[in-house]
Point group: C2
Chain length 383, copies 2
Amino acid sequence: MREVYVIGVGMTPFGKHPERSLRDLGREACLAALRDAGLGPAGIEGGYCGNALGPALQGETGIGQSVLWEVGVRGVPVVNVENACASGSTALHEGFKAVAGGFSDTALVVGVEKSVMPKGTMLNVGAAELEVQLGDVFPGTFALMAQQHMARYGTTREQIARVAVKNSAHGALNPYAQRRKALTLPEVLGSPMIADPLTLYSCCPNSDGAAAVVLATGERARRAGARAIRVAGSALTTGTYDARRDLTFWPSEIAAARQAYAQAGLGPGDVGVVEVHDAFTICEIVHCESLGLCAAGAGGRLIEEGATALGGRVPVNPSGGLLARGHPVGASGVAQAVEIAWQLRGQAGDRQVQGARVGLAQIMGGSQQGDARACTVHILVRD
Amino acid sequence: MREVYVIGVGMTPFGKHPERSLRDLGREACLAALRDAGLGPAGIEGGYCGNALGPALQGETGIGQSVLWEVGVRGVPVVNVENACASGSTALHEGFKAVAGGFSDTALVVGVEKSVMPKGTMLNVGAAELEVQLGDVFPGTFALMAQQHMARYGTTREQIARVAVKNSAHGALNPYAQRRKALTLPEVLGSPMIADPLTLYSCCPNSDGAAAVVLATGERARRAGARAIRVAGSALTTGTYDARRDLTFWPSEIAAARQAYAQAGLGPGDVGVVEVHDAFTICEIVHCESLGLCAAGAGGRLIEEGATALGGRVPVNPSGGLLARGHPVGASGVAQAVEIAWQLRGQAGDRQVQGARVGLAQIMGGSQQGDARACTVHILVRD
């Protein structure tokens, strides 16, 4: 298996882009990533596109082909990948396999989504599930997770809300973020209740945007010089619908983390910067535990102590995460890799994490019943 | 790169299954393929699902995870793939890469679709394209292709219609086919005109159904014994929107065929049985030319001489093809591989092609402007 490197990254600002098409957003991110890699479109040997909602919301299929055509990539294999919120990271995983497995020397991975919808409408992820039809939609599911975490571990509403406070502060420093306002604890706790204990600012927004990454073999990376970041681990797991008594973690995430750490030959103690799937505040607390940044049940204290804030022991979501950067569903997984690459290269501006050489990105997707449906963990290393 | 084998295949009958869900159809195909492979679900190390219309028509995402959960596969990577009509074959291509590249020793590839819609509604593939909005929908595009083929090469309406006559005769022998009635030339020519020269019976139906294939390494295949079929070539290419003066072929198909033949170390003369993307009659004629079964422009004569009928030199679409077996969009690419495997093993019943050791499957997908958007060619070999 060959080593795989990130040699170029790019993204659009996340936010509301009603006037822009999927291919327009995707093109901007791809061109930025190619420019960053110092490659022209003719240098790309394969394309992977993560998108979750285009067929349903925009009536588009073959979005990867549309975007790559706009960018000038011709002829090479292009695969559109859908794994709900993990669509972008799954595209990254497939691109990784294409380069690692010897099928392409380079690959352009793009995640793109337009998920801003008219007020009052809802994303139909999991719409075919009986539980969803009965009302068990995302905020409700994650509220249950929060309630059980509070009951079992003594996690407090304030600790949970601090995730939004921290990530909004990070997002205020990120020119690519949708929410640029640092929120106070009273503002988060006092925003409208969605599903107890999750308030409005405890939930990520719907967003439009795109992110792209150029992957390459070691030889191609050497030509790109010091900016190349090695993909040391890339794991994708699947959860089940099996009934679980313990809602305070996802078995699929524990498994993905274990696989990615083993692949990289690294452990949680080596990680200096992290991006996780904070679609709701409670999620970040659970992810910190499952990724081994703290013990099970200790995620509330971890955030309260400031360990995961910029300047802390292991900054989590320096980009602002989904809560502040925004969540264009199929793009988020790629945007995480873009942020980690910027951080490891020392290019993250006001939100720079000092001295990190190992970064980790985690995201999951799919219907919320039982375990998460798809979970990815990527580990990136500056050698 | 490791050798990859098909060790199990299965499919549902194609047709109208209004009472069945995507996961129900997918499960039937997967369980049949696992049974055929002599494997339990715990023996599967990766899953790839081809589906094109589920998010738009059924409001479902993560369909591969749903299907594999129903089958009992747990934990392993599952990727949902969308490349329009080539969704299933692209899932096969990604599964091939996972096994060939050393990421999984086995993979379950499933294609599943429910595309039967109320009368008067239309598939929205390409709906975001300006040309489609202006009325350049599939039947029109392929009618233009037929008109230019007739003008340039002297291909006749009768030759084109003979594709439907042949494939309906094949479909009448296939218990999995949606259309089981052998049509006469007058019936095809006399059916309602859709887009001159394409009549109703020149167009494939909308269909529901699923097909599945179990892939494995050589070592696993040896355990499966004589029924294993080697995947000697797997190519995926991408076309463009570039304006073309010559509508009588797809450059992306020429490229995919060349790549797959080179990978297999074989040529058109070695191929004994073929499944191609006959969504419209004219397509099969064009595909026969581009795959090298005859010279450019000679596809009309090839069908007229009976060379591509059962008993002919190189039977094409012994299953009945999309025209008769039906076209559940995301499933068709996998169903082609199932048919080729059955043919090479001598298990194709009344439609058995005698003595074939090399089979080829071709399908393409995506918006119809310019070149095809995605094209796959797979070559299967009984060693």
